[in-house]
Assembly symmetry: C2
Homo-oligomer: 431 residues x 2
Amino acid sequence: MRGTKRRPMSIYIRLRPQWPDEPIVQNLTDTDFYKFTMGQFIFNNFRDVLVKFGFKNRTASVPLARIIPESRLREELDHVRTLRFTNTELHYLRGTNEYQDRMFQEPYLKFLERLRLSNYNLEYRGDNIDLSFGGPWCESSPWEIHGLGIIAELYAREMAKKHSAFGKDVIYAEGKRRLWAKIQLLKENPQVKFSEFGTRRRFSRDWQDYVVAALAEELPATQFRGTSNVFLAQKYGLLPMGTNAHELQMVIAGLMDDDDESLRNSQNQMLDLWWKQYGEALAIFLPDTYGSASFLKIVTEEMLRTWKGPRQDSGDIYAEGERWIRKYKRLGIDPMTKMQIPSDGLIVPVMIKAEEYFRNRFPTSFGWGTDATNDLGFSPLSLVIKAISANGKGLVKLSNNPAKAIGSPEGVKRYMRVFGYSRHRTVACKY
Amino acid sequence: MRGTKRRPMSIYIRLRPQWPDEPIVQNLTDTDFYKFTMGQFIFNNFRDVLVKFGFKNRTASVPLARIIPESRLREELDHVRTLRFTNTELHYLRGTNEYQDRMFQEPYLKFLERLRLSNYNLEYRGDNIDLSFGGPWCESSPWEIHGLGIIAELYAREMAKKHSAFGKDVIYAEGKRRLWAKIQLLKENPQVKFSEFGTRRRFSRDWQDYVVAALAEELPATQFRGTSNVFLAQKYGLLPMGTNAHELQMVIAGLMDDDDESLRNSQNQMLDLWWKQYGEALAIFLPDTYGSASFLKIVTEEMLRTWKGPRQDSGDIYAEGERWIRKYKRLGIDPMTKMQIPSDGLIVPVMIKAEEYFRNRFPTSFGWGTDATNDLGFSPLSLVIKAISANGKGLVKLSNNPAKAIGSPEGVKRYMRVFGYSRHRTVACKY
């Protein structure tokens, strides 16, 4: 038998588009909802503050600068700066009334209409990518999500390049199989309620889209509550989810850190302003910025009574929940009238276990992130883009996990002292 | 928070087409190559014999008639009868020279140009589908593969109907993952050589296409030798694989079974005629029709010297190989100058083990079927369409596995006696 010459193959049942030759970010709404709730708050209260955001790859073993070509990164970043909000997107935001009637007001929407993202500073240094975004807070803040999405997806594309067309398809096949198994587990546990929070560390835009579509098809709205991604909430008619992030507390602390008393007070001031903006609708605490223990000493009883409850973004999920249950009970508040939103590196079995643990004690709704949108057989990177300075002053974050601390050593030390930070266990960051 | 009304989802990264609303058989070349090598042989030698083929579902636990709607089955069968060979397909067959220059001659090609498949008889009886195809042998024989492909895919589509769009996609994702794992195993064992023989029991036409495309992309032609599917061989520039099937020996036995001697002689007569048609090019024995042990008693020493070797389609893979090695050695023939083609329900680990077992003793090339084209998490059915009568006389097959025997009890008993059939172990049919 003679051999035959092979023609190039084409896979018939295939991903489409597999890795399209298209920009990664295509819509300014392809970001977390909290960027808009915070955006309006910043626009109304801190319009003139200059805030710098810095990129950090916490997965030190991966020399990102050797993997992602600088020119590709610049291309994607430049492309985001050419984007503008479309009329349809502004209509969607204007029409958002799930939390409050017309929660986004005309001045902020007018601002969005003209918004152009701040410039970026990019330098490749050895293994590391030095990337920061500085400008008026409202113009630098959106970079958090777009920057992370770009770097995560460029990394995924570079990893995928090593594979054949079939191999690339199998990456998604493996992702689908894993997603399927998780959804089966969730179906068996309908009492576990969650939202999808995985935009920032998604494998790719297309993959997050697929995941959200599958969750919406398979699970009832009583279980899959919504997505933090505004573009996908709009696309699939889901509830857009989100309130606020560490950057608010960090920047406001930075602006008020002239003396210790003022620094300590900054946190309640921020909470007061937030309440003034959105009232109960978005009254979710993010207590871990300077440690949840100190937060519970600072926050007023009145706030604890009126706000809905905490988002738990670091620390031991059980210990943090217990901390809040104890506090509420000491004040005669029934924790069952409150809620908590754990959102730190969750996987489905942990959500199931934690729901059972807190059942009939403290209502729990989960923010499910990286494990939802970046679990296809590759290890996801632990990437962050965080506020690092405000009007030139360095910022500090402590969190319940010292491994997640941000800031100069002196700054971290001072904040620890001022906020009475102690007894938090260091845990390796999974994501 | 108010709930939002969900719009219907659309999966973005998706199979296309998932289960297209298209006929299952779209080309008369979407069949095994041996249908043409046998077809020409039949056309030249047995043109006027009337042969009936009957369908049998060996997976008795599955009540096929309750699952596949009769109207759908009729629709698909009727569609095949409307198909004609295209000019391109006839060009491809005319140009086939991998085994012999212009192996398909003009009279046969002219016949194909006018070929219209014989009619079918279909009756639903309780759980069972009664389906047969009778007519001139050349016109009924092609139904074997088309009929099996239609029933297997209609079954798969009905199974898939229970699943959501995401669920359907995950079926293929699981298939891709399994295929990937098998291909990795094959890459680690490049000495294992095989062809794809899975048309008759494929999950779907699209899936077989995907599998063959992936095999061709991932493995060198020295390992993945070709496919039995003519359409896919043409599409991907692969070697079309196949020689002959049991129907030849069964029909010719049936035509010559007036007395025992003549019945016994029928087998060598068929081999002589086959050699006259194709010479060494397609000189592969199919010894198990009436048991390999009796075959080796009947076949002449001359044939054993000139023919390439056996396709082993039933019985224990090691014992059958040993049987041939012993026979060759007894005749002073070096088995290393011959070859065997095991093709009975193979899975990759068995191919690896058998290759190692026979290495440097008996060259082995595998025919990999159902495990290649129908392993996506559902149990494939064991379906066959076999010749059951010739010019009105019932036909018999014994095989090396009594579970695969075909024919009336008296016929089977007589054939066992005539061919000295004995000592074969009954094994449940996996496929």
